[in-house]
Amino acid sequence: MDDRTHSWLRPLVAVFVGAVFFLPLYLVVVNVFKPGADIVPHPAALPLPPTLDNIGAVLSRPDNLFTFGLINSIAVTALSITILTVLSAMLGHYLARSKRVLAKVAMVTLLCGLMIPVPVILEPITGVLKTLGLMTSLQGLVLVNVGYYVPFGVLLFMGFVRSVPLELEEAAELDGASKLRVFWQVVFPLLRPASASVLIFLGVWIWNDFLTPLILLGPDSGTTVTVGVYRAIGQHQSDFGAVFAFMFLATLPILVFYLALQKNFVKGLTGGAVKG
């Protein structure tokens, strides 16, 4: 291959393109640990010596915008993805196996839901939540997340269920296991790669959601960290150190979550991608 003639070129180009691409993120990370006064004159300089003042300021905000937001985000994301994984695994399993017309109709309807942008349904959702008495509550936000993201979970699980041999389920049934038990003890464990993908995809998406929590949690009650970033820039637009530190802290949990499960994530993503 002609690779050998340019063997030095590829890594050089790759590193250069990667560095240029990464520059904006580099600027955030170095400036989090830099005193506020140094940021504008020396934006790209390394933070030497590094300071934790910006991070300290975010953590000790008198309005607790970060701390309360963090607790809310963790609660909403953890609850939503747990419920979503279980419900969409059950629904996806049923839809992949069932030959009933009702199941086909449900499947097509769910797939249509993948294309629906949030703004289209957001105002009526506030109406539904008010009727249920769940507007501006974390429970309401969790339920909306479950309804909105269930099509995606079902899509991922349906593909995986088809790779689970039906004979396994039939054998367990012959041994006298109930449907629910077959699902929990035979099918669900085999769906683990799909569950990992659903957890990571939806964990990242729900953590990063902006418009839905902005409207559904309202201005009065606590908000999520992602909305918190938006609130924080409104207050001190020019204080880059404080804003960057807020973003850094708001991103850290989901980045760690993602890195911890990354291997499954790319596998799940590409599994779906290549098989189409």
């Binding site: 002609d2 590829r10 180009v13 790759a14 590193v15 393109v17 691409f21 990464f22 904006p24 993120l25 790209a44 059950m90 629904l91 399993h93 049923y94 196996r97 069932s98 030959k99 017309v101 199941a103 769910l110 839901g113 294309m115 629906i116 942008p117 949030v118 703004p119 289209v120 349904i121 957001l122 105002e123 959702i125 109406g127 539904v128 339920l143 479950v146 309804g147 909105y148 269930v150 979970g153 079902v154 449907k179 699902f183 953590w207 959601d209 418009l211 992602t226 909305v227 970033v229 820039i233 804003v243 973003m247 991103t251 989901i254 790319v266 993503l269 779906g272 991608a273 290549v274 189409g276």
Partner: protein, 330 residues
């Protein structure tokens, strides 16, 4: 056991639709087994109630019913602060036709969707080909490109605002290089929309890289070598061997990017608030939210939302069909 009773009853259960008898061999057998199995759990809903209902109920309550409400509201003058709500027929839709702001939002949305789809696809493919090597350096670089995909659009927006604002990091750099009047990336009405499109492209690039890399790794090495022995040059090998095999990856990326572009909201809300000037960077999603939650004109915003939904759905389905047909023929 009750299961056995239900099993016999299941054979005549009218709620379980029959497979057409045309299916042959093993398939028919497993369908029959399944039918018996699903009937065993008993009454009409069977497994549907147990397994399907919880997820479906959430979907119906928080997606389907709201869609129906949006559709209904679009024919009314609904405004919670100005009751009563009256049926106005197609008036909202008629008003939309002459609404200059909405038309601009629609055009802006299409521009963003096209730019994001084209540039993230092209850039993603080029970078994927650059990184399609198994050594540690390239694996690490994949992580670099994928990082923005994991971050929230709000965070990305704030970062790029700091870079692109008039006295931002990019313009300080340009001034340092001797450019006296660097462009107002976000303050120039002719430029701001393209800056927004660029920011979304930058964030989505890593997604395309990963999907294309997966596609590239599915191209059999023997095929490349065979083509190479037959005297095919680099370009010919790409056109005739690699590119056709990337068709499924292209489908996924294009549909994903189109939908992302069409629903662009966060970047506008965080960075430009629709400006500079009136609506130069406003998108359909932004216009819908502004009209609904700041103007409280729910009837009118619902008509916008309906137009947006129909547009997104039509374009995605058409593009999906076209690209999938291409996958089959190649």
């Amino acid at each position: 056991m009750t299961e056995i009773q239900h099993g016999t009853r299941g054979e005549v259960d009218p709620a379980a639709p029959r497979q057409s008898p045309s299916h042959g061999g093993p398939r028919q057998r497993s369908a029959a087994t399944r039918r018996r199995a699903s009937a065993r759990i008993g009454p009409k809903l069977g497994r549907f109630g147990l397994f399907a209902l919880p997820g479906l109920v959430a979907y119906v309550v928080f997606v389907l019913i709201p869609i129906g409400m949006t559709g209904y509201y679009s024919f009314t003058n609904r405004n919670p602060f100005n009751p009563p709500t009256k049926w106005v027929g197609l008036r909202n839709y008629g008003d939309l036709v002459g609404d200059q702001e909405f038309r601009q939002a629609l055009v802006n949305t299409v521009i963003i969707a096209v730019i994001v789809t084209v540039f993230a696809n092209v850039g993603g493919l080029l970078i994927a080909m650059l990184l399609d090597r198994p050594t540690k350096l390239y694996v690490a670089l994949r992580g670099v490109f994928f990082t923005p995909v994991v971050l929230s659009a709000v965070v990305i927006s704030v970062i790029w605002q700091a870079v692109l604002t008039d006295d931002g990091l990019l313009n300080s750099l340009l001034r340092g290089l001797g450019v006296d009047h660097p462009p107002g990336w976000l303050s120039d009405p002719d430029l701001a929309l393209y800056s927004i499109a660029w920011i979304i492209t930058w964030q989505m690039l890593g997604f395309c890289v990963v999907v294309y890399l997966a596609g590239l790794q599915g191209v059999p090495r023997e095929l490349q070598e065979a083509a190479s022995i037959d005297g095919a040059g680099r370009l010919a090998r790409f056109r005739n061997v690699t590119w056709p095999m990337l068709a499924p990856a292209l489908t996924i990326n294009t549909v994903m990017l189109l939908i992302t572009g069409f629903k662009a909201y966060d970047q506008i809300q965080v960075i430009t608030n629709g400006g500079p000037g009136t609506g130069t960077t406003s998108t359909m999603a932004f216009q819908v939210v502004q009209t609904a939650f700041n103007g409280n004109h729910i009837g009118y915003s619902s008509a916008m939302a309906a137009v947006m939904l129909v547009l997104v759905a039509t374009v995605s389905v058409i593009v999906l069909r076209l690209l999938q047909r291409r996958e089959v023929t190649q």
